[in-house]
Symmetry: C2
Subunit: 334 residues, 2 copies
């Protein structure tokens, strides 16, 4: 079934308010969850609402907590998220980093002690729509083995990069694991294999069979050893630049996915460096270069980063957002 944007948003907002969130905040959170589903990021939109409510019920997220300033120096500010809703904390952080970028050209906000920000791309797109370049990341609990190890010791630490255009932003929002556990599950339930190997089985063989990776928990970092190192750096830099904690301690917090996580928001005002026309021209030339390549076997088109969000959004705004009937029923009953 497909549900119209406003209907989905209103339903999510009702749920958030029922579980103690004040209306203005519930409106922002509902808007962001609905936008994620609308952009095709189904895993982090409507489908996360029930888990968020579960976290609130368990006392893992404090719906009424507000961030508090811990440190400020020049173009840097550091906040304690006080285990408030990760979406609200991340929006707050993005707006603060934008203020710093207005003043200094570049600004960084570090956020410690926050909770799951849902779709990280939200904050990159938000900043880029206002004309800013964004570099952002979060650390997470341990979900991925290190290179050469069997046990989960690294986060999948999503990394976001966004750049403004005169239309919609160009943006990357990538977890460092090659596939999410959600993707493994969906592929297994469909009785399919992954397009490329996604991890090791319990005997250490690289495999594209999702069930074998779910069993071993030996999910693969993007680029093998490269992604493992990248993830490690995002973890420690997240912790250090927010005076917060890394995966080893997030595991100990024990308040669900990303409970107590550290997040970094770097915002740059590119108009302090070059003209809007130069920005637009640079991006258009790069997109044209990409799309000018002869297509590979089995491909109909080459996409630039973020182009798929735009296509999903157009379709889902026109025709309603695809929804699993069971999940929609569950939300209605919350």
């Amino acid at each position: 079934m497909r549900v119209k944007f406003e209907e989905m948003k209103n339903e999510i907002k009702r749920v958030f308010m029922k579980y103690g969130m004040e209306e203005a905040k519930a409106d922002i959170c509902a808007q962001i969850h609905t936008e994620s589903s609308c952009d095709g990021i189904y895993s982090h939109g409507l489908n996360r609402v029930a888990r968020f409510v579960d976290y609130v019920n368990k006392g893992w997220v404090d719906v009424n907590a507000e961030p508090s300033l811990e440190k400020a120096f020049g173009a840097i500010e550091v906040y304690n998220g006080n285990m408030g809703p990760g979406v609200l904390n991340a929006m707050f952080a993005t707006n603060k980093a934008i203020e710093l970028a207005d003043k200094y050209g570049i600004g960084m906000v570090g956020f410690k002690n926050t909770t799951h920000w849902m779709r990280g791309g939200t904050y990159g797109l938000y900043a880029a729509r206002k004309g800013y370049v964004a570099l952002m990341w979060t650390n997470t609990e341990s979900v991925m083995p290190p290179w050469g190890g069997k046990e989960v010791k690294l986060g999948n630490n999503p990394f976001i990069m966004a750049v403004p255009t005169k239309g919609e932003p160009v943006a990357v929002d990538m977890a460092i694991s090659q596939y999410s556990y959600g993707k493994l599950q969906v592929t297994r339930l469909a009785g399919k294999k992954l397009p490329y190997p996604g991890g090791f089985d319990k005997d250490g063989n690289l495999t594209d069979v999702p069930g074998l990776i779910e069993e071993s928990m030996r999910i693969l970092p993007m680029g093998y050893w490269k992604g493992a190192s990248f993830s490690f750096m995002l973890d420690v830099l997240g912790a250090i630049l927010s005076d917060g904690i890394g995966a080893v301690d997030i595991d100990k917090v024990g308040k669900g996915s990303c409970g107590g996580a550290s997040q970094i928001f770097i915002i740059i005002d590119p108009k302090k460096i070059c003209s809007e026309d130069k920005i637009e021209d640079t991006i258009n030339k790069a997109i044209g270069h990409l799309k000018s390549s002869e297509l590979a076997e089995g491909f109909n088109e080459i996409y630039y980063p973020g182009e798929d969000f735009i296509r999903f959004r157009k379709d889902n705004l026109e025709n309603g957002i695809p929804v699993d009937e069971g999940i929609w029923k569950e939300i209605k009953e919350l």
Copy 2:
């Protein structure tokens, strides 16, 4: 054969001076090339000296050019590298970004119109040894196909992250291609296969046979579509944040690898955010977490990012730096 650090440095310095570089600059460049070889980055140390000389002879690198300030706003400075030696430009940029970080906590320097910086990790390690966190990248000419394409349209755009410790820094220096062309060549000459697939053959089959990838030029980005998107973003952000150019125009400059490239240097002073002890503790805990994993099949140890540099350095300082006899003879004759 193995050559002592000082002997290698003196020989490289002699060559750089012979080709027109003044002594103080030749000393810095020779030191950096030798350190790269000493740290085990053989591809970007001694082995690049002859190519650098070739570029100077062709007029692609101006050994005497100095960077010039183009723009400054708050914690941002943008320079024109004037096609000077990439190593000197990148050292200059790193020092300027450090000055900005001292003042504002975070600083960014954009460098346009520069040349190959050799080992990007050099500048991250340099900053981290002085106590700073570094995020840096360069764009390059097109060497890698986009996801879904056959023709090279993306740079391999090395990305560097470094964090200080009380000992040697923890650091990542990664190109976005899964393997370098140098690695493909070395593996082919040894009659071996790559440890994991490194690209597509000319018919679009994923392959671990290096010669088939050299033939097709369809080298794989780390993480397939993820690395392709990451590389695209580094390219356009490099160009925009330096008021410089991206891969499509670097190709047109036609002055060798990275001739006319754009580079970004972001430096953060972590001591403005947390104590040195907290930084050290965060890193040590993360390393301990990593190394506490049960080992995977065929592995004797789990390394943290940058640990291999330290091991190479110790061995090579004690026993001399491994050198290909033909390359050493070529340098001696330059």
